[in-house]
C-alpha cells in the first residue's frame, strides 16, 4: 500500500465539532462545451445523529454533492475545490487509496436504483459478508450470521433463505432493503441516501424511509437524505437544504422551512406538490422555464429567469446565502417571500403582467 490511508482513532476525535463540515465545496466538470458547475460553493455542517435533507430538481447538483464528499467522482476532467471535514479530517480531494479507510466503516451510501446497484451474479449474502470480512475481519460463519441478522433488521422475511438468493429473485423494495443492509453492515457514522426511494413503488417508499429512520436512530448515525421530493424529507429531516443550479438557495430547520419559506424557489416547489384538499382535476402549479445551463449560468440570481418575484436587481447581482433574522434560517434572495420587500416585488410583477395582458 503506497498511499497512506485515513484512519481515525475514536479517542482522538473531537466530539464537540460537527461530524461533517462542508465549506465552499465546488465540483466543476471540464467538458467540451465548457465548464459545468455542478456544485458551486456549498457549505453546511451536520451533527452526529442528525438528518440533513437535500432537495432540488434533477440536475441541481444533489448527487454530485454527495459523491464529491464521498470522493466517488471520476478523477479526470473534474475540478474540486473547497473543504469537507469528516470528524475534523479533511477528506475533499483525497485519492481513493487514502479514502478507502473511511468507506464502508465511516461513510456509506445507499444508491438510487436498487435494480442496478446490486451485482447480478453474486448471491445477496456474499455481497453483505464481503465487506464484513474485509473491514471487520470476521470469519465466514460469523459474517454469515451477521448478514442474516442485518437482513432481519432491515425487515427482510426469511433472511436465512434470502442470503442464498440472487438479486433478481428479490423485488425492488427487497433489493433496496438489501442495499441498506450492505451500507449499514460495517456500522458507518454517516450515511448518504441518494434518492433511496425514487425507483420504488409508492407503497414501498414510506417503508424504506421509515426503515432508514429507524436504523438511523438505533445507530445514532448521521444521514444526508437526497431527494427531489419535499414530501420525502418533510417529516424525516432535521434540516433541509434546497439546492438550485449547484448552489444552496435556502437552508433551515425543517419546521422553519415549511412554516416561513423565504426563497421563491422553495415556495414554488411547495406549491407544485398536489394537495389532498384540491378538487380533482385541479391544475398543478408548475415552475415555468427550465433549470439554467450550468455551463453558462445567467447573470445575477440563477433562479431569476423563472422567478415570480424577480426585479431588475436580480438579473444583475447575485444574492449570497445569508442568515436571516432568527439565526438558523439561511437564504439567498434579494426579495424573500414573506417579507415586505418580497410582497412588494411580487405585487409589482403581477401589476406589470396585468398591464401587458391588457395591452395584448
Amino acid at each position: 500500500m503506497a498511499r497512506k490511508q485515513v484512519t481515525l482513532t475514536r479517542s482522538e476525535v473531537d466530539t464537540s465539532r460537527p461530524l461533517l463540515e462542508v465549506e465552499d465545496l465546488r465540483t466543476h466538470f471540464l467538458t467540451e462545451s465548457g465548464t459545468v458547475r455542478a456544485v458551486d460553493g456549498v457549505s453546511f455542517a451536520l451533527e452526529r445523529g442528525r438528518t440533513l435533507g437535500v432537495v432540488g430538481e434533477s440536475g441541481s447538483g444533489k448527487t454530485i454533492l454527495s459523491r464529491s464528499i464521498m470522493g466517488l467522482l471520476p478523477t479526470r476532467n473534474v475540478v474540486r475545490t473547497g473543504s469537507a471535514k469528516y470528524e475534523g479530517t479533511e477528506v475533499a480531494g483525497l485519492a481513493a487509496g487514502a479514502l478507502r479507510g473511511l468507506w464502508g466503516t465511516e461513510m456509506a451510501m445507499v444508491f438510487q436504483d436498487p435494480m442496478t446497484s446490486l451485482n447480478p451474479v453474486m448471491k445477496v449474502g456474499n455481497q453483505i459478508t464481503e465487506s464484513l470480512r474485509h473491514h471487520l475481519d470476521m470469519d465466514k460463519g460469523e459474517a454469515r450470521e451477521t448478514a442474516i441478522a442485518l437482513l432481519r433488521s432491515v425487515g427482510i422475511p426469511e433472511p436465512v433463505q434470502r442470503v442464498k438468493e440472487y438479486p433478481h429473485q428479490l423485488s425492488g423494495g427487497m433489493r433496496q432493503r438489501v442495499m441498506i443492509a450492505i451500507a449499514l453492515a460495517c456500522g458507518p457514522r454517516l450515511l448518504f441516501a441518494d434518492e433511496p426511494t425514487t425507483a420504488l413503488d409508492v407503497t414501498v417508499q414510506a417503508q424504506i424511509l421509515d426503515l432508514l429512520q429507524a436504523q438511523q436512530t438505533e445507530r445514532h448515525m448521521a444521514m444526508v437524505l437526497i431527494t427531489h421530493d419535499l414530501g420525502v424529507v418533510a417529516g424525516r429531516a432535521d434540516d433541509i437544504a434546497v439546492m438550485y443550479a449547484g448552489k444552496v438557495v435556502e437552508k433551515a430547520p425543517t419546521s422553519v422551512l415549511f412554516s416561513s419559506t423565504r426563497h421563491p424557489y422553495t415556495e414554488a416547489l411547495l406549491k407544485s406538490i398536489p394537495k389532498l384538499e384540491h378538487t380533482s382535476h385541479t391544475r398543478l402549479e408548475v415552475i415555468p422555464g427550465r433549470p439554467p445551463d450550468l455551463v453558462s449560468p445567467p447573470d445575477g440570481c440563477n433562479f431569476s429567469p423563472r422567478c415570480a418575484y424577480a426585479q431588475p436587481k436580480c438579473f444583475v447581482e447575485e444574492p449570497v446565502l445569508e442568515t436571516g433574522p432568527g439565526g438558523d434560517h439561511e437564504f439567498a434572495c434579494w426579495y424573500p417571500v414573506g417579507t415586505p420587500q418580497g410582497a412588494e416585488a411580487l405585487a409589482r410583477n403581477q401589476a406589470d403582467a396585468a398591464v401587458t395582458e391588457e395591452v395584448a
Binding site: 464521498m70 466517488l72 479526470r76 481513493a96 478507502r100 479507510g101 473511511l102 468507506w103 464502508g104 466503516t105 461513510m107 456509506a108 451510501m109 444508491f111 438510487q112 436504483d113 435494480m115 442496478t116 446497484s117 446490486l118 451485482n119 447480478p120 451474479v121 453474486m122 464481503e130 465487506s131 474485509h134 473491514h135 432481519r152 433488521s153 432491515v154 425487515g155 427482510i156 422475511p157 426469511e158 440472487y166 438479486p167 433478481h168 429473485q169 428479490l170 423485488s171 425492488g172 423494495g173 427487497m174 442495499m179 450492505i182 451500507a183 453492515a185 460495517c186 420504488l200 413503488d201 407503497t203 414501498v204 417503508q207 421509515d210 426503515l211 429507524a214 436504523q215
Partner: protein, 322 residues
Amino acid sequence: MPVPSPEEAGTLHAGGSGGIITESSVEATYDAIGEGSATDVEREVRHLGVGFWIAVAWLVGLITLAILAPYLPFIDDPNVSQADALGAAPSAQHWFGGDDIGRDVFSRVIWGARVSLFIGVAAVTFGFVIGGTLGLTAGYFRGRYERVIIGAMDIMLAFPALVLALALVTFLSPPGTQNASMGTVTLVLTILAVPSLARITRAATLSFAQREFVTAARALGARNSRIIAREILPNVVPPMAAFALIAIAIVIVAEGALSFLGLSVASPTATWGNLIEQGRQSLDDTPWISLFPCGVMFLTLLAFNYVGDQLRRYFDVKEAGL
C-alpha cells in the same frame, strides 16, 4: 414506525413488487442467473433447442474419440499402411476409406482432430488469459493505459491474419526446420487471437464498469483488484465463455489453413488441413481422402458456432434482469 415485521413486509413485498417478479417466476428462474424478468413466454424463446443438443453431442463425441484414439480398437494406427486400404473406397472395414499409401482415413481424421482441437482450445485459452486480462484492465482503468493497449491491438488487427500467421510461423520455428511444432502453431494462433479477444472483453467490461453496483462496491471500500475480480469478472465470464466457442472454431479454421499450406504440424502427423491437402491431388479418383476430413471439419465448426451462438443468446442479460 418500527422496522416492519416479517409478515407485514412479506405482504407488501408481494403486493409492491410492481409485478416484476412473482413468486412462481422466482422459483422458475432459480437456476438461470441473470434472467430476472424471464416470463414463461420469454423462456420459451430462450430455450436452447434440439439443434443445440445435437451440436453438443457431436462435439462431445468427437472430443471423446480424439482423446481415447490411442486406446480404441476400431481406430487404427494413423501412420501404418494397410494392404487392404490402399486407395480403398469407404467400406465396413475402412469407414472413410483408405488413402493412396493405405492409411485408414477415419483414424487419420480422428487423430487430426486431436491436433486441431488441442490447438483450438489451447490457443483460445491462452488468448483469453492474455487478451482477457488486457481487455478487462483496459476497460476498467480507461485513460492512457486503455489507449495504449487498444492501439496496440488495433495495429495487430490491421495485419492480414494469414500473412501475419505465415510470418510468425516462419520467424518462430527453429532454424532449419520446414514445419512447425504443435507448440509453435499454438503460440502463433494465440498471438493472433489476443487482439480480438482483448477488444471483446474490453467492450463487455465497459458495459459493467459504469454500473451502479461497481460504484457501490467502491463506496464500501473495495479495491480495484477486488472490484475487477469479484464484481466485473463474474459478469463478463458467461458471455465470454460463449464467445470462446466461436473463437475455437475460428482458430481451427486458421490452423487448417496453415496446415493446408504445409506450415503447421509436420506432414506425417495427421491434421485436418494436411489431410485435405493430401487428398486434393487425387480428388477425381479417391475423393473420400479430402471429403471426409472436410465434412468432419465443417460439422465441427458448425457445431462450435451454433453452440456458441445459442449460449451467447442465452447469456445475453437483459437490462430488466439486473
